[in-house]
Symmetry: C2
Subunit: 408 residues, 2 copies
Amino acid sequence: MACYVQKFGGSSVGNIERIQHVAQLIDKTYREGHQLVVVLSAMSGETDRLMKMARELSTDPDDRELDVLLSSGERVTIALMAMILKNLGVNARSFTGRQVGIVTDGAHTKARVSRVDTKRVLLALKDKVVPIVAGFQGINEASDVTTLGRGGSDLTAVVLAAALKADTCFIYTDVDGVYTADPNMVPSARRLDKISYEEMLEMASLGAKVLQTRSVELAAKHQVPVEVRSSFQDGPGTRVVKEDVDMEQVLVSGVTGDRNQAKVTVVGVPDQPGIAAKIFVAIAEAAINVDMIIQNVSQDSLTDISFTVPRSDLKAAISLVQDLAKEVGARTFEVNEAIAKVSLVGVGMRSHSGVAARMFATLSRDGINIMMISTSEIKISCVVEEKYMELAVRGLHQEFELEKPPAA
Amino acid sequence: MACYVQKFGGSSVGNIERIQHVAQLIDKTYREGHQLVVVLSAMSGETDRLMKMARELSTDPDDRELDVLLSSGERVTIALMAMILKNLGVNARSFTGRQVGIVTDGAHTKARVSRVDTKRVLLALKDKVVPIVAGFQGINEASDVTTLGRGGSDLTAVVLAAALKADTCFIYTDVDGVYTADPNMVPSARRLDKISYEEMLEMASLGAKVLQTRSVELAAKHQVPVEVRSSFQDGPGTRVVKEDVDMEQVLVSGVTGDRNQAKVTVVGVPDQPGIAAKIFVAIAEAAINVDMIIQNVSQDSLTDISFTVPRSDLKAAISLVQDLAKEVGARTFEVNEAIAKVSLVGVGMRSHSGVAARMFATLSRDGINIMMISTSEIKISCVVEEKYMELAVRGLHQEFELEKPPAA
């Protein structure tokens, strides 16, 4: 008998028919005799519906009240799912975030889980009950409901799997796993049977929306085996697991393209110690997430400093840089939104050299200019003109033969 | 400075515009410097929407899960209301049934309030916060959410008003008070300025849907002054208060007609001791609510026993009586759904005689046959053919001059 956590996202419970289908999946696992905890999101579209009402009433809705509002959607799905499961003969019972013991800090709309009190869940499992848990929500020390931020139901699932030492945390979604590239961009993209936590983390933070970044971090920390599966079709998905020897044989696991990028260049900055620090401390204090930074070689004691930010942060970055440029005596500043970031990810890079050179050569062959470069142990990213993004991703997918399964 | 509870029903918060309007009403009371607790229902139609989904998934939805499902609607309205009030500068904060300390028994979908722990509300009021409370819901000793049954938000309001010793519990609804008769039936019906708890209780149980019956009982028990008002138009409503001398001067306060009635007659029952008991014990055990009972004078040692039940219970009553009739050796049984109950209510009947005689004479004058009669200290009810109900109500309203305000 294994212990499993099964999480189903919004599209998997998006209407009555989908809920009925998911109930069948749960019933099947239950009949196999496993211990089972189910985590559900709200029905897809529900969060948008509630947010729309909030925005009609207030331009800046209170965070505590947003959490009360948005956490109502999961209560609907867990109640409906528990009802239908009971009809199928499954001993199911709904649990809210509070009832499942997820205690968070007080940061409404983006709370962090501080502890999990598994008492009630363990009692339920002992009584052969299947807990149907509301994802995305917890409770703070003041006993107010909190939500865990975008994709927070993944986090609920992983947190519970870690606390229960579950054998696998299944994340059911509308795709059947993690691919070597976005199949919409690269038709020959191949589903990966397994991927390491670190690779998944890089992919997730690069915009592959299969798994929420924080949930992958937590899975890695607690060594929770995760498997991404489709609730729309049968069959295995992608296992997200600890790095193993097989994975190291593979040079590159995946290639990603990310349009959510903008570049800001502060032009003609006096090349003196402390100037760059001044700029980036101010930006960090405004909670703007800087990704890459490049400083040009100095000419006539003047230099240019470029950095990238998510497009959603660009407006805030511009209003900050306007003042900063004057303050540090820079000549002017420039903004470029028509850029994209193309990245190769693979734990194999740790032990193999030459990946960067092959990447640059491939882009060059296709006439794509590289504007910025950044590297980590298992990732190489290049900023290119946005219009070349798909060409770059396809060229790299082909160059590294990602469509071919790794040799056994 | 007074302490008020203001309850707004589903139609009062039925859409964004209505919520904005109610926020203005709350804001006004807040600016007057009063202590204020607001209780809200779910948006009208929301409960039906959720129930529809539940029924699509299950013919007999689990009660515990129904409570999780149905209690989600109030979370939406309290969060939205708290948001808009904060924007208006009112220091508002949402409270769920649990947070407001409403502890109930374990009877899901029709729980009874066992105690109210006002600690958090009192703290909030001390901090000049306006608690915006989810009506209709509480929490049982197992920490599961429960709901208080149809109209349960009224109960939440009265329970809180009693616990806080509030000066008035305002019930805002879509009518501006309690009338001498249903204005749809009697155009000259007059709004009552005040009515006693007992009269209101009789009116409520007779089908005047302004206030939930249990909430009136509780208000009477704790002597909570209640006022029914309209949230759609300004002005005073009807105060529901302790009986006073003025009220006793008035013979009849109101007249009601109730179509939700059906009559069952067991024909040719042997007139022996214990037979009637056998029938009514069986019916009570099936939780069928018998209203009036009549036993005819015996002929040839046979008698007929008639009783009325709500039409919603008729099906259950018939299947029971089919067996019972055989068991007690009755000849047959008959069912009549085309009946209605017409009632006069007024505490003045306690000290004035002749009301019944005038009622019977009025009905007789209009050619209406009386099928059954029942009386209490402050009420006289007659069962008549359903087609005569409106005629009877109008005739009685005129006979007792209910359109005229009582003499000062």
